[in-house]
Structures are given as C-alpha cells and as structure tokens.
Symmetry: D2
Subunit: 347 residues, 4 copies
C-alpha cells in the first residue's frame, strides 16, 4: 500500500502518519518526490485497519498494490480448478451446458424440457423452485414441491441438477435435493447466504451481481472458499448499463479477466444477460470461443405460457441447433461438452 501525502501536510502530520502506520503493524518507507511525498506501507494490506489510513489528516490518497482476495486468486492456486457436479466435470477443457426452464412449473413441464435438453446434449439440468421476482405479486416458485420434481426428472434423464437458493434458512432443504446450489445475481453480496453455502459440501454456482466488478465477484467467491468449500463455479450473466435494447450488458471480457486473476471456472449465461432469444446462440458461441468453461441457457417448450421469464427462453429446436453449433465449435477449439465415463473422472 502506498500513501500519497498532501502537498500542504505539516511535518507533524507526516510524523503522525508514520506513527499510525507503525501502530497498525506495518513498516513505513518514506520517499520524497518532486511534487509529492509518498509513504510505502510494507506488510499485508488486507490486514484490518489498513483501510483507515486514508482517514488520517494529511493523507491525499491511498493506492492499493495487492489483490483483496487470496484463496480465489491465481497466485494462491496456479492451475485451473476443476469442479465436479455429479459426474460432470467443469473446467480444464470440459464444458458445462446447463439448460432447463427458468422455473419448475410441473412434473410434465420438466419432463418435456429435460427430454429435449438431454437429447441436445446438456449435461446439467436447471430449474428454479425458489424464485427471486422483482414483483411480490409474481409467481414465487413451487418450493419443496419443485425441488422434488426437479430431482425426480434429473434422475430419470441421468442429469445432475442445479437450483437457486435465496435464503440461508433454505440451504439445508435445497441440499437434500440438488447437486449444485445456485446463488443468484441479486444475492451475490448476501454474505450470510454465502457463508451458509460455504459450509455445505455442494458445488456452488455463483452469479455475478448486476453492478459487481470482477473483483467484487471474486471477493464473494472468497467468502465461500473461506468457509472451506472450494467447489465454486462463477457465472457471468450481464451487468446493468445504459443500453436499453438488451436486458443487461454481457461483459464477455469477464471470462479471460477472471482467468487471469483466478483459478476458478467461469461459465456464461446469455439468457439473463441479453433477455433476447435472437441474441443467445451467437453469445453462446462467443462464450465458448472466449474460453468459458460452459454456458447456461433457459429452454422452454412453450415460452408464451411459462410462469417466469418466458420471453427469454429458447425453444427446444433452437436449443438443438445451438448445441450442434457449439459442439462443432468446441471440437475446433479442442474442448468438449460431454461428461466422461465415471471411472475416468472421479479423481
């Protein structure tokens, strides 16, 4: 950390600054430039209290040098992490295709959709039982009944399942049914939920918040990792912007950006990012080409009757076409979607 001293700071202020740096357990290193004096602060800048150095009179600005996350960082763990969801491998060249409807509506609905996505080659089935809806009057999900349906249909088609958990009080219940827990964008900084999920041994799908930086996303992953759960898959799903012709703005550069800074796998969700079925296929292709470890898309056989987010779902035949394209593309890039035989996979 580096403290830039105000040009009008008094000598007394500078001495006080140096004293505080020492009190906090750091070693100060003063350097006088032409227009500014700076104080190098040697030590772990993530130490509590460090943030307050900017509140000392005479300090103009504090420049951080280190990343604020540790377990999530590439420096801590150089190789790409691989996360298993059931027998599906995410990362290290294996791609996830997480597909299914926005919400679990009924056994029949899930059965129809699961058959299609399995046929297309999805390897993880999704569906929401607890739904975070902007309006209190909108469909809020089937709850445990939805979890049961999702589990049964997942077993029928031999697909592990992922579903959202919104409340720390639901974690235990959802763990009884799901193979992977999703933390939604609106809860990316619901720290009690992050901690509770960190205490489980289920893999976590952590979606980027609508106004979270890549650093914020990695800090939220750090909450889960710090509780001892290392199976975290990140998900870029678009951020808020001024562009009004898409639901959010897909930050595709987050894929390589995360990979430079972290060892965790990252997938892309163009359904929520764009909200437009006409843009989803090309954004899936771009995600795979960008180096994402998978994609996440919503599929519904009758979007006009869906109970949640119908307008952004792909139709089954669109999904089948998309998977054909993605398989060819992945092959050209030396990667693949398919889960390998169990014997080979489990470490």
């Amino acid at each position: 950390m580096i403290l830039v001293i105000r040009p009008d700071a008094t000598l007394e202020q500078l001495e006080h600054i140096i004293e505080r740096v020492r009190e906090l357990g750091f070693t100060p290193h003063v350097s006088r430039g032409e227009s500014r004096t700076i104080v190098g602060v040697i030590g772990d800048e993530n130490r509590p209290g460090a943030e307050n150095l900017s509140a000392i009179p005479g300090v103009e600005q504090v420049l951080r040098i280190m990343k604020p996350f540790k377990l999530a960082s590439r420096e801590f763990h150089a190789a790409d992490s691989v996360v298993y969801v059931g027998k599906v491998r995410i990362g290290g060249g294996s791609l996830a295709m997480i597909a299914g409807p926005c919400a679990v509506e009924s056994y029949e609905q899930m059965d129809i959709i699961a058959r299609y996505v399995k046929a297309g080659g999805a390897n993880i089935l999704r569906g929401g039982a607890f739904k975070p809806r902007t309006s209190p009057y909108a469909f809020q999900g089937l709850g445990e009944e939805g979890l049961k349906i999702l589990r049964d249909v997942g077993q029928k088609y031999d697909l592990p399942i992922v579903t959202e958990v919104m409340d720390p009080r639901q974690v235990e219940l959802v763990c009884r049914y799901a193979d992977m827990l999703q933390i939604g964008a609106r809860n990316m900084q619901n720290f009690d939920l992050l901690k509770e999920c960190g205490r489980t041994r289920k893999p976590i799908l952590l979606k980027r918040g609508m106004s979270a930086t890549v650093k914020d996303l990695l800090m939220s992953a750090e909450y889960i990792l710090a509780e001892g759960n290392h199976d975290v898959v990140l998900c870029e799903r678009g951020v808020r912007s001024f562009e009004d012709s898409t639901r959010n703005m897909l930050d595709m550069s987050a894929v390589p950006n995360v990979k430079v800074q972290s060892h965790l796998p990252i997938i892309v969700d163009p359904s929520h990012a764009t909200g437009r079925p006409d843009l989803i296929p090309s954004m899936c292709r771009a995600a795979v080409a960008a180096g994402a470890d998978g994609v996440h898309v919503e599929v519904h056989h009758c979007p006009e009757k869906a109970l949640s987010d119908g307008p952004q779902a792909l139709l089954p035949h669109q999904f089948l076409d998309l998977m054909g394209d993605l398989r060819r593309l992945a092959a050209a890039l030396g990667r693949e979607f398919w889960s390998r035989p169990e014997a080979e996979l489990v470490p």
Copy 2:
C-alpha cells in the same frame, strides 16, 4: 399494455395472439396503423402471465402502460406518508437526521459519538452490529453485543436507534433492540428479508441498491407493504457508475422522482453515496433543498481508528457545523429537524 405486431406476422399468428390475450383474461383491441398493427390489451397488466405476451410468435414488442407497483404508488395513496421512529416524525415537513458511526465498536465509542450527534441535533442514532463487508476478513460487527450497546446509548441520549439487519434469521433479534430496521443496499432485492421485515411492526429504512432503478426500489418497498408493514422510509445512497472519484454516484433527482411516483418518505445518505467527507456537507444541503425528508450521515470521533468505513465519516465538529447550516436552510424552506413534543405528534 400494448402489443406491437411484427410487420411480417401472418394472419394466423395475429389470430393466435388475440386468442392468447383473451385466454389470459384480457380484452384485445386491434388497431391497424400505416406501418404496424397494434393490439391494445385491456385489463390489469400486473396479472401473472402478462409478461409472456412478448414470447408469442409475431409480437415485436410489448409496451407497458401501468406502473408495476400499487401500494407504494401515489395513485393508491395521494397524500405524503409520515413515518414515526419512536417520537421522531419523518415526512410531511419533518426532517430526520440519522447520524452515528458505521459500526458499533464499544460502549465508549458509541457514548462519545452519541453525545456529539445529540448535541448537533441528530434525532435518530445509527450504528451497525451486523456489517455487510465485501471481504470475509474484515470486521463483521459485534452482533447482539453491539445491539445492546446501541440500545443503551440510545436510551441514555433519548434517541431512537436504527441498525441494519442482513439475514431473515436476525430479524427477531434485531427487533428486540432497534426502533427501526435498516435494509442495506446489497439486500434491496433479498426478497426473503424484505418479506420478513414486512411481517414486523417496526419502521423500515430501505436503501436503494447499487444498480436499482427508482422503479426497482419502489417494487422492493412494495414487498414490505404487501406484508402489511406500511412504515417504509426510502434512502437514496448512490448508484454504481463510471465516475471513479466518488464511491458511488448520488442520484439526487431520485428525491423528486420518488415523490412524483410514491407517497413514501425518502432521505439521502451522502456518506455512502460519495465516500468523501469533503463532499458530504454540500450534498446534505442539496438533499434538503431537493425536498428530501431527511439525511443520513456517518460520524466518528476518530475515523483513522474506526473498525469500518472510517474514511467516509465526518468528524464531530464537521457534523456540528453541518447541522447549523442545515437548520438555517430548513428554516428558509419552511421545514425543521426537531421532533415535536410527544403529545402533539402521536396521531
């Protein structure tokens, strides 16, 4: 709601659209223009299923006419709502000054700060016992011990207290100590927490999320109101933007914007919005002049040793100066900060 039909839609598609509109319980009203056919959809557009009309083949866009919130709307309740926190009146010309440290650190710390803010004329005391911190390694608050300190100090200085609740499991505990519950920006769309707070009879301070529109904020208020709790005070605290010299961007126009659309009181928090003590006083003045029902500022007697967010706190003497300015300004605008004698106030 209005459906704009694609120019290349077939007659069969149009008939299907009209049929679906009827099935959903709306009355369709077709109108052919020069370049587009439109279908007026008569009925309550907040009805479940309405959102899916945009998924019907042949529909180009869906234009909403009505606001998606009801209980929070000015149409539902024409007069300004007034919310009482203890004997302090917020709204209807009475201004709240919510002041105190970011986090409760100790009895001594709270006692010193409360004495100053009381002297300056604050009418509500704040302090965090459960802290939402970006880093899992940062100080997370004193928990119940902090709540006790806050209550005791509040009673000593005859100031009602407000403190943040982050987890639905904490609501009952926090209710035992606090006069007002704060829902932080990161939890503005933590819907389970909104519902749980809606079931209490404590006034709620609902902070705007970092990427929430004014409509989103009012939809989150609707969650609380829909549970039967009508004592909601909104708080503008800045949104994420590209401007990098302030912590967030204070959307001052949210004050009159909320007042046009809703009857709920709204206050402004320049501490979190700007993160810069040198900008806070002028933003407090602007908030009062803009018509806000109060302001929220962080105060600390020794920011450089604060356990949380020290750099954005005002010093006690800065707070005293600010309150002098604000009192004069409020007087010029025909408003006041002071809580009136109880007899007069309670309705």
Copy 3:
C-alpha cells in the same frame, strides 16, 4: 406512436390532444382501457413535431413503435451489406483484420509493423495521423506527414489504409491519402463531421461512442447514409461502465444486436474495449464466433516506446499467434479473412 393519457386528464385536455395529433398530420385512434385511455397516433412517427406530443397537458407518456432510423435498418435493406475497402471485402462472410499501431510515428516504425501485420494476414493497415488525446499535452499526431507515411507503407505492402479524421476541415485532406475514413468514438455524434464524411465516396469506419446505445450508433450511421454514402462499417469498441479492471466494457452482444436491426457490417475492436493485451486474443476469437465481420487490433513492435497507447498494443509475435487461431476458427465457421482476387470481387 401511442399516447397514454393521464387518469386525471380532463375531457377538454383529451380533445386538445386529439386536435394536436390531427394538426401534426396524424390520424388519432382513441381506445379506453380499464385504468387508462390511450390514443393511437397513426402516421410516420419520425415526422418533425412528433416528439412534442409528450409536452401536451394531459399526456402521461408517449410510446414509440417504430425505429428512428430508416436507411440503416434491416427493414429498408434486407440483405447484408458488403463494403469494399480497396479490394478487401467486408461483410457477407468476408472478414476484415484491421491492424497497425495506434499512431503513425515514423516511416521506419510503420514499415516494421506493416511487414509483421501483412505476414500475419491483416488485410487493412491502420495508423493515426490526427490523434484525439484526452490531454492537450500528449502527442497529437504527425498530421499530413503521417498520412503520407501511411499511404506509402500501405502501397509497399499492398494493404489499403484506414485513418481517423477528427475535424470536418480535415476530410478533404485525409481523402487524398486514405482508403477508408475512421470516425472515432468521441466523434460519433459530431454531426457536422458525419455529414462531411457522408459527402465523400470513401468507406467509413464508424466507432460506437462510449455511452452510445446501439440505436444511437445506427442513428449516427443514418447521418452518413442520408448524405448518399452507403459504405459504412460499424465498430464496437467498448462502452463506459463501472468495471475498473478494463478500459471499457466490450458489449459483444452489439454484434448480433446490430445484425438483427441493420444490414450494415460490424467489426469489433478489443484493443480499445479492454485496453489489455492479455484479454485481446480471446475477445478477437469471441468476436469472430459472435458473427462480427472483422476485428481491429493495435500492434506495435515496441509498446514501451510507442507515442500513443503503447500499453494496449499486441506484440508482433502475439499478433501472428492470434491470426493463426482466428484463421482456424473462421474456417470452422465457414468464413475467411482473405481478400479474393480482384476480378471476382468487384461487383
């Protein structure tokens, strides 16, 4: 266009609204719903005066139905447009690779870089002679001397050249040297410059402004098209956002989004979008997979001595590797970078 009438509008106001609609040459079509009356406004909503309908007392909101651009729209011209720069074809399956340094610095510098980018397979050479710099004290470009160098080096390596024009007064001069004129992001709404470029017969590379929506970009293209110049290539180069680890946020979904709404070719510039050489190759791959008609990258043999934007340039060997990847990817997608023999190409 549809006018939503305020619920408290008087009958007299409604009559005045209808009269104004007629005066402006539109046909009104009144429809009463449960909670709102709406007035359909039949006629060309891009007609002057139409925007003011929202200023009539009693009008709550105005909903637009039509796109505000015409010549740039897919409705006006259904097939993909193809633009020729010299003998290089952009669009219709032919990809552009526009490469070169940020600024022309000297003949030697351009000669070294052009040799590399030609070897890698770039088909258009770039270099700035007039530089829009945030600081008045930064290198502003070599001016006409730079244009001469760029032209000479382009001819030596048989590469058409593109260079930025910043001022309407420079258009004539730049046309004497360049094969394609670039309008930079900061000038996307410099309407006099757009008109002046629209009057030339040179193809135009129009970069998206830092806070321009896709619609704004197409409106700026419309300015050029309306002057009679139909050879416009759009360029996504990132927009401003809160993310602080990249220079801008690359809106990859703009590629398919433009293609849905417009017939114009669009390329992607990951150099300016990310500002980080470690992210550029994967964003180039993603752009090609997303369906872009080309990419634009900055290359410099000695970035640490570049006179402008060195830190975001690829090194020559990085560029060669990237081109190998992109050629393989393009082949897998049935597209190619190479300009075909002239006889085949010219229409």
Copy 4:
C-alpha cells in the same frame, strides 16, 4: 508515479525497467515490500512517454499520483475564478441563470420567451442556432438567421446571449453574434473544436459529456485554457446511466467535486439532466444549495409546438415561480443572481 513490479519479474526485467525510467528523464526509487517490489518514479508524470511505462515487461501496474490537468487545477490557482459574460458575473458568490428555449425558432418566439425570462430574473439568454440532433431528419437549427434573432432579442432585453457552436468552421461566425460560446455534451471531446474556442476571447460554457468523468471534463477545460482562454464555465448536465425514468442522471456531487479540484465556476443544467419539467425546480434548488455558480434551464411558452426538446421545457409561469424560490434560497445562503452595476463589476 509508482510502478508495481510483478512478483515473477526477473532481475533483468527490473534492471530494464529502471533503465527506461531513467531514459524518460525520471529518477527511479526502488523499494522492496513483503509481496511486491515497487519503483517510485520521481518527476513530472504528465511528461510524454510516461504512459508507456505500463507496457514494459515485468510491470504489473502503474499508479498515478498527480492530476493530469494543470491550468484547471486548484493547486495552480487557489482562488475561485470569476467569469464575466457581458456584465454578468459568474462565480465568487454571483449566480448565473441562463434561460431560454432549446432552439431559436423565430423572432416572435424569442421575443416572447426573452420577455418572460427577463421578468423572472434570468441574467443570460440562451437559444440554439446550430442544433446537434440525434436524427438527421430532425430540425437542425436556423443557422446564422438564428444567431441574428438571438442577438437582436438579447439586445432588446439587455441580456447577454449564449449559443452552441458545433463545428470549428462556425466559431468565427458565432463569435460575431454571441457573448458566450457553448460547447455541447456531445462535443466535450471534440478536441479541434476545443482548441478553436480556446483561441477566441469569448467566455466558454463547457458541458460535461454523457460519459465523461469529472477528470475528463477538467482535461477538456485544460485544452481551452492551454490555448490562452481562461474564461471557462463548466456545466453538469447529467450522465448516461441505467436509470430509465430520467433522460440522464444528474451527478450533483460534481459541483463540490469540481470545486475541490479546480478553480473554475460550475453551473448545473437540470433540463437536459432530467428531461422532466416536474423534476427541474427541485434540482435547481439543490444545485444552488450544493454550491453551484448558476443554473441553466430551458423555457418555452408553448412546449407542444417547440421545434426541439419541447417536453423538457418549463412554462413561463413555472419559471417565474422557480426564480422566486431560488432568490429566497440564494439569499439564505448569502448569494445572489443579480448582475451588479457595470462600474462596480468590471475589474
């Protein structure tokens, strides 16, 4: 400037870094911390070439210490600058009220509006003769004819006039008529226009670009100042954001933020910032309370027939009410709108 060295940098790389720092005329100052080595770079970091230090292999990041603007900075000129437009004083406690229609439409229109704004107490008259319109099909302004009308009406009501200049080729013409030149938001980084305006001796009203940071705005002011024109008034007029219920987001904190960093006066334009007459009065009050040196509002006697931006104009009676409020508020804050007698004013 401080260079943070990558933990994996070689000794050879570090030596090369130090050599480059010296070659660029800086003095290096190496300091080894626990996890990173840093190199302090002593010298003027705005020197050309300094930006490229981040491109040297082994450099992880470059931290700037100094502000990139000089003449615009508070350090360069400690006292508040005062700018005269005709006999009107802006800054130093004197407030500007710039009012008038968006566009000059006719002598009659300007005459009616000028009479009202003069009566209300505006001290500068505005009106556009050259209009930057998003659509090429919209009214583009009356050109020189509009300038003549504006000058004549300004003289009739003894009001100095301000009008926009969009193109360097118009500067001379506009100077013949106007007392102050406005550079619009879309042209804030039209550097040739900035330079051309910097060469005149007219005061300049420089509007903040829609995605410009406060630093960017001050850098654009620096372009004008560097040409020798010191009479620059800045204008906050809202920036692009995700909020869709206002035209832009008014960044009110830019007012004190500019005042901390710069000596230049700054005014606020709530008309363009909000686009909503129902929010303009409260935002004008907030601007004055925030410490702005004036406000800028659009006024039209018949917004529904305006040729440009009618929907955001105040009606004359709304303007008169607003001015009454603002005068009282300004008085309470010890400031005033009125131009003093000429003899007193001219320095």
